[in-house]
């Protein structure tokens, strides 16, 4: 049920490929009254997070020397604030590493002060 002071916000869950359509009702104090439409608990969590402080995982590449390919795919170890995604990409464009690298190796320790590290998502053996 929804009382007459509530404002409804719509989100689309990106937690998994199902893409649940979420609705978040907020009262006039900005507190969440109700979350509808999620198929799982993860969806509820996503709705709350997305409503208050949207965050994203970043997957991109950094330069690598001495490997089979010139780019190494990387990801953030956890989500960073959505509005810092482009800055994070920009920062990662300046990074170069040297092969060999193993999947899971930390490439950047603390990305833009988010406390998030950036790790390699594949092995890149050195080419001899």
């Amino acid at each position: 049920m929804t009382d007459h002071d509530a404002t409804t916000f719509s989100y689309l869950c990106i937690g998994c490929p199902l893409g649940c359509r979420l609705e978040v009702d907020e009262d006039d104090h900005g507190d969440i009254i109700e979350i509808r439409g999620s198929g799982c608990r993860k969806g509820d969590r996503y709705a709350k997070q997305e409503h208050a402080d949207p965050r994203r995982n970043v997957t991109t590449t950094v330069a690598i020397s001495g490997g089979l390919w010139p780019r190494l795919p990387v990801k953030t170890s956890s989500e960073i604030p959505k509005d810092q995604v482009l800055a994070a990409c920009e920062a990662l464009r300046q990074v170069r590493v040297q092969a060999p690298v193993k999947m899971g190796d930390v490439v950047v320790d603390d990305l833009l002060g988010t406390g998030c590290s950036v790790v390699a998502t594949r092995h890149m053996p050195a080419i001899t």
Partner: protein, 425 residues
């Protein structure tokens, strides 16, 4: 990528798998589990893993492995498992032909041209992308027109950029993923244009690839002409009417130096055609039984070579089935023949597998033609009587529908074909 020992090629195998992506590796492992001794995967690239290696984004494995991985992570996980299971992987290799006695003609960098003998074969060559020519966009033929997947490889593996200002035609997942990828690399994405009134990719990708990066998404709009002599310099786009015909009086030009075409995938069926397998005209892939066997004895198929999946997890599940049966076939074990044909009915484009048995559990994958908010999946017999039904949430063509037929569901069913429909409740 993981194993760099010199490869030893045998002349006889129990199972040979064409393609070292998630489908092929999954099938190979399942064949081993089912008791096949010698299982060989041949992959055309320098590294096995398939297209996942260039899909550096996350979203893989949630169903199948219980965690969300990036493409390269998923690829390496299954490659490592396959190697641990004793699967033999040969890269830089290409299966040229299979004759009627299951003699394979193989061309590989390590061994040159070889003829192998195998008991069973699994086709897992994946898919190719539809091109600009396939959708017949008129105009010039300048440089700068790429399929989205080709651009993805250039950006993520070769370390170059396709251009400075990009138009993306088609809202398939690869196109959406590339919109984000290019935006992240500082390339201007002038817009994503989709012919249909709904986006073709997963909903999550509309949010995190298009909305997050303020990329304009134009539905019911398409590219009607390509301009430019040496390099593309603009495209003309136009809205379409209810019959998908462009309304040229409302057309406008979008300056760009690159056009990415993301208008769908087609099963890689060169080999399937060469083998004269029976193909499904809707999927363009081979017609398969509930054991994923094609119209040719001992030739199985799985993954995008059969039909286009939207999640690798479903590919892996299908691969387990195909590989398991290929492994058993190699040991001389054959399950009873299917006795029911599945026929696409109202709002169903296709079903895979094409036949099932009444006494075994089956997972049937199907794709709807049109989106529906609240729908009902029904199986009807030839008289029109409902044999089984299940409520579905909203369905869209971009998202595959999975129907689990548990044992007992078809108990007592006497007919030889079932009509599958997805209709409004």
């Amino acid at each position: 990528m993981i194993d760099d020992r010199p490869h030893v090629l045998h002349s006889k195998y129990d199972v040979v798998v064409a393609g070292g992506g998630p489908a092929g590796l999954g099938a190979a492992m399942a064949a081993r589990t089912a008791g096949a001794e010698r299982v060989l995967v041949v992959d055309r690239e320098a590294e096995a893993g398939g297209i996942l290696l260039q899909c550096i984004h996350s979203g893989f494995g949630l169903h199948h492995l219980g965690e969300e991985l990036t493409g390269p992570e998923y690829a390496q996980r299954i490659l490592q498992s396959a190697l641990d299971d004793g699967v033999d992987v040969l890269t830089n290799a290409y299966l040229l032909d299979i004759d009627n006695d299951q003699n394979l003609k193989l061309l590989s960098t390590d061994h040159g041209l070889s003829i192998l003998d195998t008991r069973a074969t699994v086709l897992a060559m994946g898919a190719r992308e539809r091109t600009r020519a396939a959708i017949r966009i008129p105009g010039g033929r300048p440089a700068g027109i790429f399929t989205a997947g080709a651009a993805q490889r250039l950006v993520n593996l070769n370390g170059v950029l396709p251009g400075r200002r990009v138009v993306i035609l088609g809202s398939g997942d690869i196109g959406l993923i590339m919109a984000r990828r290019l935006a992240m690399e500082g390339v201007e994405v002038a817009g994503v244009f989709e012919l249909m009134p709904h986006a073709n990719g997963l909903s999550r990708n509309i949010v995190q690839c298009v909305h997050d990066f303020d990329v304009p998404l134009h539905l019911s709009t398409t590219v009607v002409e390509i301009h430019g002599r040496n390099r593309i310099d603009k495209v003309t786009v136009a809205p379409v009417d209810d019959h998908l015909k462009p309304i040229l009086s409302k057309a406008w030009d979008v300056p760009c130096d690159t056009l990415l075409v993301s208008v769908g995938l087609i099963p890689e069926n060169e080999l399937s055609r060469e083998l004269r397998l029976r193909l499904d005209p809707t999927t363009s892939g081979p017609i398969v039984s509930s054991t994923m066997e094609t119209s040719r004895d001992g030739v199985f198929a799985c993954g995008n070579v059969v039909h286009i999946h939207d999640l690798v997890d479903f590919v892996s599940a299908e691969a387990e089935l195909a590989g398991g049966h290929a492994g058993r076939f190699a040991s001389g074990i054959r399950p009873p023949h299917d006795n029911v044909r599945l026929q696409p009915g109202a709002n169903v484009a296709y079903c895979v597998p094409h036949t099932v048995t009444t006494d075994q559990p089956h997972t049937v994958y199907l794709r709807v033609r049109k989106p529906l908010e609240k729908s009902m999946l029904r199986l009807r017999d030839s008289e029109g009587a409902v044999v089984h039904e299940r409520r579905l949430r909203y369905v869209v063509p971009a998202e595959m529908v999975t129907l689990k037929l548990r044992p007992g569901v078809l108990d007592g069913f006497q007919g030889d074909s079932l009509l599958v429909e997805v209709v409004a409740r």
